[in-house]
C-alpha cells in the first residue's frame, strides 16, 4: 500500500473513483452497513447488469453465418474484381466461393440464417446484428488483442477488466470477471491469459479463468485435505493474532481489508463450488443446453455455468469456442464447410439455450449477450474450399438488456468482402457494451504512466441504432 494510511489513500490505490466500489462491496459484505446499491456509480441508468461474451475464436465467416449474399451464391467461381491480395494471412485465389450452406429466413424480422444454426434461428428477433464490423489486423494474435482491448498490441486492459473496474462486484464472494476456455481440451486461444489480462489496471480486475478440467478455480479446496473445521479453527487463530497485530497499527486500513479478504477466500470455497456445480439442474434444463448431446454437451455446460454465475452476481463472463491451433478453432482455411459445420454443431444449441433460459427466467432484460470472433473471412477462396482471414468485414450480434431485437445494422458489399455502410470498429462495440451497462466510455479512465487511458483510446461511438 505504498506506505499510506488513510482510507482515502487506500481507495486511491485501488484506482480511485469507480473502482472503489469493488473494495466497498468487499467491506460491505462483512457486515458493513454501507453496502453500495448496485450501479450506484454508473454514469446513467444501466440496461444490463452483466455481460456474457461468446467468442467464436479463429474468425467465423460472415457470409456463411449471418451475412447472406445471394450475389455471392450466383457467382461462385468467378473472379472477384477488386480482390486485395493483402487482405488475408495467406494468399487467396481471387475466385468467389459461394457458401456451402443453405440460408432461410426466420422470425418476424425475416432474418436470413445459415442452416448451421438451427437452434439460434429461433431467436433472431431477440438479436441485433452489426454486419459492418472491422478490425485493423488480419492476424489472430493482434486481432484478438484488438477485440479484447481495442488495441492490437499486448499490455492493455481488456473490456472485462474495465467493466469490473468500473462497476465493482455484485457478489463479493466471487470474482467479478470470469473466463471459460475451450472445453474440448484444444488449448487456450492465442495470446492465452493475456486475452483477459488487466493490463495496467490493478490485478484484482483481471479475468479469473475457470478451468475446464479439475478444480475450476485454483486452490478452491485444501491440497492438504484440511476439513472445514480445521480451516475454521486455523483462521480463528489467525484472526486473533491479526487483531493484536492490527492494534499495533491503528488506522492501517489495508491490514483490516486483508483480514476480510482471507475470510472471503474461506467463504468462496463454499459458494464457488456451489455456483459451478450444475448437477442440481433439472433434467429439462440439462436437455435444453444439450448436455446429453455427444458434441454439443461441453459448450452447453459452459453456457449453463455462465447462467449460474450470472445469477450469482458475476459481472462479466467470457466463453471461448475453439482452442489454440488453427484447425481447432473457427479458422476455416482449408475447408470452410467442414470447419464451420463442426463448430456450429458444438455451440449452436448451448448459445440458443442460454438465450431461451435467460428469457424464461426474466434475466435477458438485464443481461447483455455478445457474440463475435476476432475478424471475418474472405469471400474469395483459399485453395479450393477454404477462406482466409478478412479484417475488413464481419458480423457481431448483441442480445438482451437494452438491445433492439431483429435489427440489422451496417452493410457489406454484394459479396460480403468489404464493409459498405456504417463501418464499425471494435472501439464502437466496446463503447456500446459500456453504454448498455451504464458507463460513458469517455469518462471511464485510469491513469497510468502519466496518461489517462480508456478502453476506447481516443475513439469509439455507441452504435445507437441497435439500442431499444
Amino acid at each position: 500500500m505504498q506506505g499510506s494510511l488513510t482510507r482515502r489513500s487506500l481507495l486511491k490505490s485501488f484506482g480511485m473513483g469507480l473502482g472503489a466500489v469493488a473494495l466497498e462491496s468487499m467491506l460491505a459484505s462483512v457486515g458493513d452497513p454501507r453496502n453500495p446499491r448496485e450501479s450506484r456509480l454508473t454514469h446513467f441508468p444501466a440496461k444490463a447488469r452483466s455481460v456474457i461474451w461468446i467468442v467464436l475464436n479463429g474468425g467465423p465467416s460472415q457470409v456463411d453465418t449471418w451475412d447472406y449474399k445471394p450475389e455471392l451464391q450466383r457467382r461462385d467461381g468467378q473472379m472477384l474484381a477488386d480482390a486485395d491480395p493483402r487482405t488475408g494471412f495467406f494468399e487467396t485465389t481471387g475466385r468467389l466461393l459461394a457458401s456451402p450452406f443453405q440460408f432461410r429466413q426466420h422470425g418476424q424480422s425475416g432474418t436470413w440464417v445459415s442452416e448451421i444454426f438451427p437452434y439460434l434461428s429461433r431467436h433472431v428477433d431477440d438479436m441485433a446484428f452489426i454486419h459492418s464490423c472491422f478490425t485493423r489486423s488480419n492476424n489472430h494474435s493482434p486481432a484478438l488483442f484488438e477485440m479484447n482491448t481495442g488495441l492490437s498490441r499486448m499490455g492493455f486492459p481488456c473490456v472485462g477488466s474495465w467493466m469490473a473496474y468500473g462497476l465493482g462486484a455484485q457478489n463479493a464472494n466471487l470474482p467479478g470477471f470470469l473466463v471459460m476456455t475451450d472445453a474440448k481440451g484444444r488449448g487456450l486461444p492465442k495470446n492465452q491469459a493475456q486475452n483477459w489480462g488487466a493490463g495496467f489496471l490493478p490485478g484484482i480486475y483481471q479475468g479469473t479463468r475457470i478451468q475446464s478440467n479439475g478444480s475450476p478455480i485454483d486452490n478452491l479446496s485444501s491440497s492438504a485435505g484440511l476439513t472445514r473445521d480445521r480451516q475454521r479453527r486455523l483462521l480463528d487463530m489467525v484472526n486473533k493474532l491479526n487483531g493484536a497485530h492490527l492494534e499495533r497499527f491503528k488506522g492501517q486500513v489495508e491490514l483490516s481489508a486483508r483480514i476480510e479478504a482471507l475470510e472471503l477466500a474461506f467463504r468462496m470455497q463454499m459458494e464457488a463450488p456451489e455456483v459451478l456445480s450444475i448437477d442440481q439442474e433439472p433434467p429439462h434444463i440439462r436437455t435444453l443446453y444439450g448436455l446429453n448431446h455427444p458434441v454439443a454437451k461441453q459448450f452447453g455446460r459452459q453456457c449453463l455455468t455462465a447462467r449460474r454465475m450470472l445469477e450469482a452476481g458475476v459481472r462479466f463472463i467470457q466463453i471461448y469456442s475453439g482452442g489454440t491451433g488453427n484447425a481447432q478453432s473457427w479458422d476455416g482455411h482449408t475447408d470452410i464447410a467442414a470447419n464451420h459445420r463442426q463448430f456450429a454443431l458444438e455451440t449452436d444449441q448451448g448459445i440458443a439455450a442460454l438465450l431461451a433460459d435467460l428469457k424464461q427466467r426474466g434475466l435477458l432484460d438485464s443481461t447483455l449477450v455478445v457474440c463475435c470472433g476476432e475478424f471475418g473471412r474472405t469471400s474469395d477462396s483459399q485453395g479450393s474450399r477454404g477462406r482466409d482471414h478478412n479484417p475488413n468485414a464481419f458480423t457481431a450480434w448483441f442480445a438482451g438488456g437494452g438491445v433492439r431485437g431483429g435489427v440489422h445494422y451496417g452493410k457489406t458489399d454484394p459479396f460480403g468482402y468489404r464493409t459498405m455502410e456504417n463501418p464499425r470498429h471494435l472501439h464502437d462495440l466496446h463503447a456500446t457494451i459500456l453504454h448498455l451497462c451504464g458507463i460513458d466510455h469517455e469518462r471511464l479512465t485510469y491513469r497510468f504512466n502519466g496518461r489517462d487511458f480508456r478502453l476506447t483510446d481516443v475513439h469509439g461511438n455507441v452504435v445507437k441504432e441497435i439500442l431499444a
Partner: protein
C-alpha cells in the same frame, strides 16, 4: 512550460541543513527533519530491534533474518547496526533482491510473447548480468551504457553483449504478415524507446509517438530522433566463447546491410521475405502508411545543457567515423555535465528510495514529467543524486546512507499509544514527510522466498538457467519468466506481466491470495517442512515449539497473550495441530508485511 519542469533543471548541490540535533544520524535526516520541524512534527522513535532487523533484511536481501541473528542483534542493536548493513550489502542475496526490481523496470521475460510465445532459452544470462552488476556495485553509468550499447563498447567482452538483453527483453511477434511487418517493426522500436524513456529517464517518451502533447516535455519530433538510435537494432541469439566454454545469449545487435528483414515466419511460407531499410522515418500520427522524411539521432533540446553540440556524443576518436547511434545515445544519457545524466541520477536514487520507503521522493518513479508527482523533498533528491555522481556512480554508498539514517530506522507511531499522533495525522495524513514508518506488504518474490527460507526448503544456488516449476526451491528471481505461463503464486501477489516496464508494483488485496495461502500445494509443502524443521529443533515441549515457530517465521518471540493462545491451539489434542499452527503463522498479516 515544459522547459521549466523541475526534473529537467541542472542538479543543485544544496547545503545540508542543520535542522535537528540528537535525532539525525546523517545528512539524509537533516533534510527530512527540516520539513518535519517546519510543520511542527517531531521525528519518530526508533523501531523495535526485531522489527528493524526483519525490515532491513528483507529490504536489502529479500530474505528473513535467521533466528541467531535475531538474538544477537536484539542484544546490541546500536553497536552492530552499521556492521549488519555492511554485511547485508555485501551478501550475494543483495544483487538477487535488487535485480528483481530492475527486471520489473526492464519488462524482462524469457519468451517472445504473442500467440506462440516461443521461449528465449538463453535470455536468463541478462538476469545474471543484472544480479552480478548489483553485487559488484558496477557504477550505474557503466551499467546503463552496457545495456544500451555493450555490443559496440566492448566488442570482445561477452558480458557487455549480454547486457544488451535489456533492449530486446520486450515482446516480439514472430508470426508476421506482409501487411503488418513494417508496423511490427516500428512497434519493436517503440518498445525500446519507451522503455529507455521510463526506465532510465522517468519520461513517458512513448506518449509522443503519434502527436505532441501539451503536457509532455518531449515532442513527437524528439521521439523519432531518439527512435533513430534503435533503427537497426534487432534481437539475436548469439554464440560466445569464454576460455574453453561456448555459450549463447539473447542480445541486441545491428541488422546486417542496413536492412531489417521480416522475422521468422512459421507459416505460410518463408520464401521471398521482404525487408525494409533500417532508417527510421518520421510518421504522421504514428502511422506507417504516413511516412515522412528519414530522421537521424538527435537529443531533446530540453536535455542538452551548456550549448553542447550533438557531435560531442557522436564523434569517433580522432580520425574515426561517427560512433553508432546507440553508443552516442549512451554517452549522452550518462553525461551529467551537458547531457541527460543529471536526470538519470535523480531517477535511480529515487528508485532506491522508493523501494526502501514504499514511496519515492517522487511518488511516480517512472514519471518525472509534468504529469508525474513533484518531489516531496527536492533538495534531498538532488543531494542524493549529487552524492551518487561524486561516488563514481556507485549505488551501494547511497544504499548505506539511507539504511543508516534515523529516518529509515523509525518505527510506526501508534495513535493508540501516543496522543501527538492524532495531530500529526491531521497535518500529514499520507505521511509524505516521513514522520513514521508504515507497514509495507512484501512483494510476490519476497513472500515466496520467505516461505522457502523459514521452512528450510530454500536452495540458495546462485545464477544459471531458471525453472518454470513454482515448486522449485530456488529463489523467485531464478524462476523462468514465460509470458504465457507466469508463475501462479507470484501472479497472485501482483508480480508484473513483463509487457511494459513497471517501476512500482501494484499491491492488491484479493480473496485469490487468501485461497493461495490456505490451499495451494506450494504453501502446504512449505508448511510441512516448517513443521518438520521445528520438530527437529529441541522443541519437545509445546512452549518451545511455539517460541521457535514465532522466532523463525516472524523474527520475534510471542507475547504472553500470543503464547497462551498458541498453546491452547496446540493442546486441542488434534494430531495435526502442530502442522496447522505452522500454516497459521504463514497466513498472518505479519508474515507478509514488514514494519
Amino acid at each position: 512550460m515544459a522547459e521549466q519542469l523541475w526534473s529537467l533543471q541542472p542538479l543543485k548541490r544544496p547545503e545540508v541543513p542543520r535542522a535537528t540535533d540528537g535525532w539525525a544520524l546523517n545528512p539524509v535526516d537533516q533534510f527530512i527533519a527540516r520539513k518535519l520541524v517546519n510543520t511542527g512534527i517531531t521525528p519518530g522513535k526508533k523501531a523495535a530491534p526485531s522489527a528493524l532487523l526483519r525490515r532491513v533484511s528483507f529490504d536489502v536481501t529479500g530474505l528473513p533474518p535467521s533466528p541467531n541473528d535475531v538474538a544477537a542483534f536484539c542484544e546490541a542493536e546500536d553497536a552492530v547496526y552499521g556492521q549488519l548493513v555492511d554485511r547485508l550489502l555485501a551478501s550475494p542475496h543483495f544483487g538477487e533482491r535488487w535485480a528483481t526490481h530492475w527486471l520489473d523496470i526492464a519488462r524482462f521475460a524469457e519468451s517472445y510473447g504473442f500467440e506462440m510465445d516461443q521461449p528465449r532459452p538463453d535470455a536468463w544470462r541478462y538476469r545474471d548480468f543484472v544480479i552480478r552488476a548489483f553485487n559488484e556495485d558496477m557504477p550505474y553509468d557503466e551499467f546503463v551504457r552496457l545495456q544500451l550499447a555493450g555490443d559496440h563498447l566492448k566488442r570482445t567482452n561477452p558480458d557487455a553483449w549480454v547486457a544488451t538483453g535489456f533492449l530486446v527483453a520486450g515482446v516480439e511477434n514472430l508470426i508476421q504478415t506482409r501487411k503488418e511487418f513494417e508496423r511490427d517493426r516500428y512497434d519493436k522500436v517503440d518498445d525500446m524507446v519507451s522503455t529507455v524513456g521510463t526506465a532510465l529517464l522517468g519520461l513517458t517518451i512513448g506518449c509522443s509517438r503519434c502527436h505532441d502533447h501539451k503536457y509532455d516535455p518531449l515532442s513527437q519530433r524528439d521521439y523519432y530522433h531518439l527512435a533513430a538510435a534503435f533503427g537497426s537494432t534487432v534481437s539475436r541469439v548469439k554464440e560466445f566463447e569464454r576460455g574453453n566454454t561456448r555459450f549463447k545469449s539473447f542480445v541486441a545487435t545491428e541488422a546486417a546491410d542496413g536492412k531489417i528483414p521480416m522475422v521468422v515466419v512459421t507459416e505460410p511460407s518463408s520464401k521471398n521475405l521482404p525487408s525494409v531499410p533500417a532508417r527510421i522515418h518520421f510518421l504522421d500520427r504514428g502511422d506507417v502508411k504516413k511516412k515522412r522524411e528519414a530522421v537521424s539521432v538527435r537529443y531533446p533540446n530540453v536535455l542538452i545543457r551548456n550549448g553542447a553540440k550533438p557531435s560531442r556524443w557522436s564523434q569517433g576518436s580522432s580520425g574515426q567515423p561517427e560512433v553508432p547511434g546507440r553508443v552516442a545515445l549512451a554517452r549522452w544519457i550518462t553525461d551529467h555535465q551537458d547531457g541527460a545524466g543529471h536526470l538519470l541520477a535523480r531517477v535511480i536514487v529515487n528508485r532506491v528510495w522508493h523501494h526502501y520507503f514504499g514511496r519515492g521522493i517522487v511518488a511516480t518513479p517512472s514519471d518525472f514529467g509534468t504529469r508525474g508527482d513533484p518531489p516531496t523533498h527536492p533538495e534531498l533528491l538532488d543531494w542524493l543524486a549529487g552524492e551518487l555522481i561524486q561516488n563514481g556512480w556507485r549505488l551501494k554508498p547511497i544504499h548505506k546512507l539511507i539504511l543508516t539514517s534515523a529516518t529509515y530506522r523509525q518505527g510506526f507511531q501508534n495513535a493508540a499509544t501516543d496522543s501527538r499522533v492524532v495531530g500529526y495525522e491531521e497535518l500529514d495524513p499520507d505521511n509524505l514527510l516521513l514522520w513514521r514508518r508504515d507497514p509495507k506488504r512484501l512483494d510476490a518474490s519476497a513472500i515466496r522466498d520467505n516461505l522457502l527460507a523459514v521452512s528450510g526448503w530454500l536452495d540458495s544456488t546462485p545464477y544459471g538457467p531458471g525453472s518454470l516449476d513454482q515448486n522449485h526451491p530456488r529463489r523467485s528471481v531464478y524462476l523462468t519468466v514465460k509470458r504465457s505461463r507466469l508463475i501462479p503464486f507470484l501472479q497472485s501477489f501482483d508480480a508484473p506481466n513483463a509487457l511494459q516496464g513497471i517501476g512500482q508494483r501494484q499491491v492488491t488485496i484479493t480473496s485469490l491470495q487468501g485461497l493461495t495461502m490456505l490451499n495451494s500445494p506450494f504453501v502446504d509443502r512449505a508448511v510441512q517442512r516448517l513443521a518438520k524443521r521445528l520438530a527437529g529443533l529441541d522443541s519437545a515441549g509445546d512452549t518451545r515449539y511455539v517460541r521457535d515457530g514465532f522466532l523463525i517465521a516472524l523474527g520475534r518471540l510471542p507475547s504472553g497473550v500470543e503464547e497462551r493462545a498458541a498453546l491452547e491451539f496446540l493442546s486441542s489434542g488434534q494430531a495435526a495441530a502442530r502442522r496447522d499452527f505452522c500454516q497459521m503463522l504463514v497466513c498472518l498479516n505479519e508474515f507478509i508485511h514488514i514494519e
